[in-house]
Symmetry: none
DNA sequence: TATGAATGAGTCTTCATTCAT
DNA sequence: CATGAATGAAGACTCATTCAT
């Protein structure tokens, strides 16, 4: 293990914060944000609430950290999975990864739902949340722009609007899955996503490239 | 007006409940569900919390009523606006109405976001919410089925999947609008919806009808 | 009892606040400000802590109110007792009243000591406290000025300085009494005050009036 | 310098305790006793709370030590300054030193105010505090008695009462200065003290000595 | 029907203290 | 000697709920 100058474990502090964040997420998904007290999170961790205040000044700070942690992970996952793919396929892979339903994915979506609900009525949280949303949307925009540059998609396509459409579709699928994951047979969510992306390609794809 | 034995108009009781629900919604959207106490709702009404107890046994009952009230209104609006339209256009009108951005619409969507967030971790609420969701989805399914019956859409179309896709798109647009309503120019949301519906028609529309 | 328009007792609210303030004072003098919790105050009142939050938004507000209440009472007492006295005697009576040692007086002084200690390090409190102090000092200044006007004291006397001296003597006596009330035989505190006031008269008294 | 067995200088331990006490005093004057936590004191020292535990078993012990340290210093200062003065002048010098307003003096007085406030409601602390007070009073008594012996002051003077009067004046001036140090022009506090002492001399001074 | 006083449980937060390294 | 992680108790505060008027 990496040690700090004085022989104390280094990075443990941050690692512990992540542990706590993860515990907080589990508890929130299980009990709901309203019922999830610090005591519950501590119990989930097998420690007392004092530990939590040791690592986070505030409950709000804890939740904020947890949220960012979850979001960052999601981004990393998308980036990782699309790393060695290119062309339109890259978009498909990237987004498809995010709608593959399993228990982790459902938990992730439920956290998103929780945080969105919490942000309403709190301008500061709302802005933070909006930024996260924009980050995702910009990511897609960048992909679309790249596809324009490489001649896969037409130059006259409204990149911004299409990106928002894709983002909406992704979020909407997540909403549906959160509600009733069991109503979705394996592959259905991916199918809808594919349909949507095919629509984008149909409208803006340049002949001779992806279609033919 | 119908009167009760003592001369008090019938329906007053229910009307008051609606008033309270509306006040609760305004407060929740403004302060967030976590911060919205009964006292705040009472203050919004210009009365004390005692009044709330008269009309609702519980805070949970109040919120449940408020939620149902909001949802029912949304359904009514959709039904009303699509009343004298038929064919594929009916679907367009019905759904378009729901994504026309104004302050009411944003408030409505934010309430939905609040209630969704609240439902996570509370199986009973989640089920209630899922039912509302299913109700909307069934509505669209019914419309699609009718369009199949009237030969507008192909019989082999997977009605259930398409309905879920449309629902997802609608919810996703709402999510985006909630986050940053000002990022949407008038008509953009409708445009994305139209694009999506056009996609449905393109895939499943029967020649000779809407397509030419 | 005075009633409000709707038949509810009027003024009860403020009366209750005073009750609570008095209880808080008793508890603080008995246990010290650090140990005096809201629960202790509530117990002293024979009610629960909820009542306290009903009448005071904050512990700080409660303590502030209590302090003001105590101070105002002290002022009223001084004014009352000096109401029908005039000349230099008026000053003597006014101040003598404040250093007559009994259990109430000791409690009052101890509260002052508590509040002074609490004010250190809290600029806001300090200012409030300073204002109270200044109020007392201005009162004495006014008396001295009046005695100048009526020819009892010389015009060239430094009113401000003398007033501060008297205030200091009063506060200092209170300090001593707080520490060890039993060390003071009846009349000793008054004697020291008299000596001090005599000194003032000796230095600034105009022949023919009080001295002769 | 004297060394312990292991080569560590004796007195280091005590010196560190004094350092800590001084830090504690600074923090208390700055933040108030209620807000001054061990962590704040440690931070002021540039170390962690663990260090404090090494030198003091208890927070209370730390504060007690700090208080005694402050008081002892005040006594030392008075003794030092009056070392080579005699007669009535000795009293003047001794006390005058204590009311010369500068930032150190204000801090000292504020600490006294803090400790006095803290003592109320805590019989043990109160007794300790009373003892400190008595020590000061006895000191003045001793001076007065000496002045009687040397024929400066009349034998029939009530030494105890006069000593308490002087003590009261000193404490009262301190109280005033604590509240609003800026309200005092240089020399005003000394002037009031001088006036008071002159009064003592006027009442009890033996002709032919200090008066001439 | 409405008021608002009172309750009391629940939660967050702070903090002195302990202890392994 | 010093660190900082962990404890756990204590206190303030919030708030839904009840109830007498």
């Amino acid at each position: 293990m990496v040690k700090s100058k004085r022989g104390r474990p280094f990075g443990d502090h941050e690692a512990r914060r992540v542990q706590i964040a993860a515990a907080a997420c589990r508890v929130m998904v299980r009990m709901g944000i309203a019922k999830a007290g610090l005591a519950d999170i501590a119990r989930e961790m097998g420690c007392t609430t004092g530990v939590l205040s040791h690592y986070f000044s505030d409950k709000e700070q804890l939740l904020l950290f947890a949220k960012n942690y979850v979001f960052d992970q999601a981004f990393e996952r998308a980036a990782r999975v699309a790393a060695d793919v290119s062309g339109f396929e890259r978009l498909r892979v990237m987004l498809g990864e995010s709608v593959r339903i399993d228990s982790d994915m459902v938990e992730r979506c439920r956290l998103l739902t929780i945080f969105n609900g919490r942000a309403v009525g709190d301008p500061r949280l709302m802005q933070i949340q909006a930024r996260r949303n924009e980050r995702f949307w910009r990511l897609i925009e960048a992909e679309l722009t790249e596809l324009q540059r490489t001649g896969v998609l037409a130059a006259q396509m409204d990149v911004s609007l299409e990106a928002r459409g894709i983002t909406a579709m992704m979020d909407g699928l997540a909403d549906q899955i959160v509600m009733k994951p069991r109503a979705w047979k394996p592959g259905e969510a991916e199918a809808l996503l594919t349909i949507y992306l095919d629509g984008v390609l149909a409208r803006h794809g340049v002949r001779g490239d992806g279609m033919h």
